[in-house]
């Protein structure tokens, strides 16, 4: 059963999109991530114009984050103050990102920057996660004690001015690093069509040293604000948000996410992390390595001729 997407102006198989939404939703519920980094490449592969895929994903990511953040909020696992500071940076980043994307699209370099961003960010983060989780699994197999966590707080982070208290995170730090982090993730969200959780979560754990319990909920809270703004800006500036596409993905996505969240309790944390790291690495390589092979077709048509 095919359905015609009014903004993308292509016809797609509706049950396939719902199933895809469910699969990515399941993965996102399982690992507590947005899943945009998986969905955007698959949509492009299915023939949706990349600019429409990237922009429509922001509505999808906002909706799935909304559905998860409520349950995190009930468990008091969201630091709204930290989330607000991150989001303040995210707003700046999103505005810059949408303008940057528009400029790249006019230059014809949007595809290159999207592919390179996937290769660099997913490759590096997937590689680090795989290394870390594989080490944890091996140590557990060998019955070695887990490596003691270094709690030495980096001095550059604590030497900055304008310190603020974040009671839920038990932190007393300057808002400059979180604002910068939020801005960076906002730019990524506009360019890659992702929520940015895969950058935000490790940065909150290893750089800001936030307690693990509030990290995922806070990251989701910031992602809602950033992607909601990105989506509105993409619709307003580039007219590339397709609600029919987003709606179909959502339909499967919310169901999948709930089942994924339930299934996650059956696996060990480090095994889940290793699996996620593997997926992240594969997507990054798949998107990025194409840049190094000699293309079969040396010419490429650019969509959105009017710019």
């Amino acid at each position: 059963m095919d359905i015609y997407l009014p903004i993308a102006e292509v016809s797609v198989n509706a049950p396939l999109l719902v199933a895809l939404g469910a699969l990515v939703g399941f993965i996102s519920g399982l690992f507590g991530i947005g899943g945009g980094f998986l969905m955007t490449p698959v949509l492009v592969f299915l023939g949706i114009p990349p600019v429409v895929a990237v922009a429509s994903m922001s509505t999808h990511v906002a909706a799935s984050s909304m559905s998860s953040v409520i349950s995190y909020g009930r468990r008091r696992a969201v630091d709204f103050r930290m989330g607000g500071v991150l989001a303040a940076g995210g707003v700046v980043g999103a505005v810059l990102g949408v303008e940057l994307f528009r400029w790249l699209r006019l230059l014809g370099q949007a595809d290159l920057v999207v592919a390179l961003s996937y290769l660099v960010f997913l490759g590096v983060i997937g590689g680090l996660m795989l290394w870390e989780s594989a080490g944890a699994i091996l140590r557990r197999r060998a019955n070695a004690p887990p490596r003691p966590r270094r709690d030495r707080r980096p001095p550059w982070l604590y030497g900055l001015p304008l310190k603020m208290r974040f009671p839920s995170s038990r932190l007393y730090i300057s808002p400059i690093p979180p604002v910068a982090l939020g801005a960076f993730v906002g730019v990524l969200s506009a360019i890659m069509g992702v929520g940015g959780g895969f950058v935000l979560v490790p940065a909150m754990v290893y750089v800001l040293r936030m307690p693990a319990g509030v990290v995922v909920g806070t990251s989701l809270f910031q992602i809602i604000i950033t992607t909601a703004l990105t989506g509105v800006l993409q619709a307003g500036r580039n007219q590339t948000v397709d609600v029919v596409l987003a709606g179909l993905l959502l339909l499967g996505g919310v169901l999948g996410a709930q089942f994924g969240a339930r299934a996650s309790s059956r696996f060990r944390a480090e095994e889940l992390r290793a699996l996620l790291a593997f997926i992240v690495l594969m997507v990054g390589l798949r998107m990025g390595l194409g840049l190094f092979f000699t293309p079969q077709e040396p010419f490429v048509l650019m969509s959105g001729a009017a710019g």
């Binding site: 059963m1 095919d2 359905i3 015609y4 009014p6 903004i7 102006e9 292509v10 016809s11 509505t59 999808h60 906002a62 909706a63 799935s64 984050s65 909304m66 559905s67 998860s68 409520i70 349950s71 230059l107 014809g108 370099q109 595809d111 290159l112 390179l116 809602i224 909601a228 989506g231 509105v232 800006l233 993409q234 619709a235 307003g236 500036r237 007219q239 948000v241 609600v243 029919v244 987003a246 709606g247 959502l250 919310v254 996410a257 709930q258 840049l291 190094f292 092979f293 000699t294 293309p295 077709e297 040396p298 010419f299 490429v300 048509l301 650019m302 001729a305 009017a306």
Partner: protein
């Protein structure tokens, strides 16, 4: 006494589309447009029929991949103006057998004879003492670029040449079928039906076809393009509401 209409002395062609509007709704998967026509020729000269369907013009941006430091990157895009968003030339025989190069070029018949160019890449200068010569910065590669546009559009099903797309079903009566892919642009299409005798066009008819979005699709399309900000806000409110509703529905107490 029945008065017969005066017999035409000149050969003439007549044609009609079986549908003049194509409605694009949620289950649109492309369409087939059938065209019927008749050739009136008392002299019974051997005739060929060419049907050219052209969609609304759309500027085309195309880039070439070049290798920079081991990575394949897009060159600066070249914009071609005046290219149709959809183009098909259907005929009773291969076009090259029907008419000569110059005739086809003048009529813009066949993808090789489509008139489109890249004005931003061109400049007018004086060369070899000849004034106002049009010189393309693409130089000798110009044909590569042009061929690439045609090749990529053909791969999308948007440009086509059907050498046997027009068939005579009875003496003087012909039929043509035009395949419209789901990616076909929205807008006004022109169908030109040409009668060729001895390699020259002797009669011509023009018909129009409208491809339009209807129903919810049209409403969404217009909303997204005419009031993009309110569309964006509504889309986001819908998405957040759906997320909230899902979480409420699956709440485990």
């Amino acid at each position: 006494m029945i008065t017969l209409p005066p017999q035409p002395t000149q050969p003439a062609i007549s044609a009609a589309l079986t549908q003049t509007t194509v409605r694009v709704n949620s289950d649109f998967r492309g369409d087939r447009i059938v065209l019927y026509g008749a050739v009136f020729d008392p002299a019974r000269t051997p005739s060929d029929v060419v049907v050219i369907v052209r969609g609304p013009d759309e500027p085309i941006r195309i880039a070439r991949k070049t290798r920079v430091a081991g990575v394949w990157v897009n060159s600066r895009p070249v914009v071609f103006q005046g290219a149709p968003g959809f183009y098909i030339a259907a005929s009773t025989r291969p076009l090259d057998d029907i008419a000569r190069f110059g005739v086809l070029r003048r009529l813009g018949a066949g993808v090789d004879h489509l008139a489109f160019n890249a004005p931003d890449e061109q400049r007018v200068e004086t060369r070899y003492g000849v004034r106002d010569m049009v010189v393309s910065r693409l130089g000798a590669d110009y044909l590569d670029w042009r061929n690439a546009v045609v090749r990529l559009k053909e791969a999308q099903g948007l440009y086509a040449v059907d050498e046997h797309g027009v068939r005579f079903v009875d003496r003087g009566l012909f039929r043509a079928e035009i395949a419209l892919p789901a990616e076909a642009p929205i807008g006004r299409y022109e169908a030109r039906i040409l009668l060729f005798q001895h390699g020259q066009p002797v009669s011509e008819k023009d018909r129009t076809l409208t491809v339009e979005q209807v129903g919810v699709e049209r409403a969404l399309y217009l909303w997204a393009h005419q009031r993009p900000w309110s569309y964006g806000l509504a889309a986001m409110a819908f998405a957040l509401g759906a997320g909230w509703a899902a979480s409420a529905a699956f709440r485990r107490d």
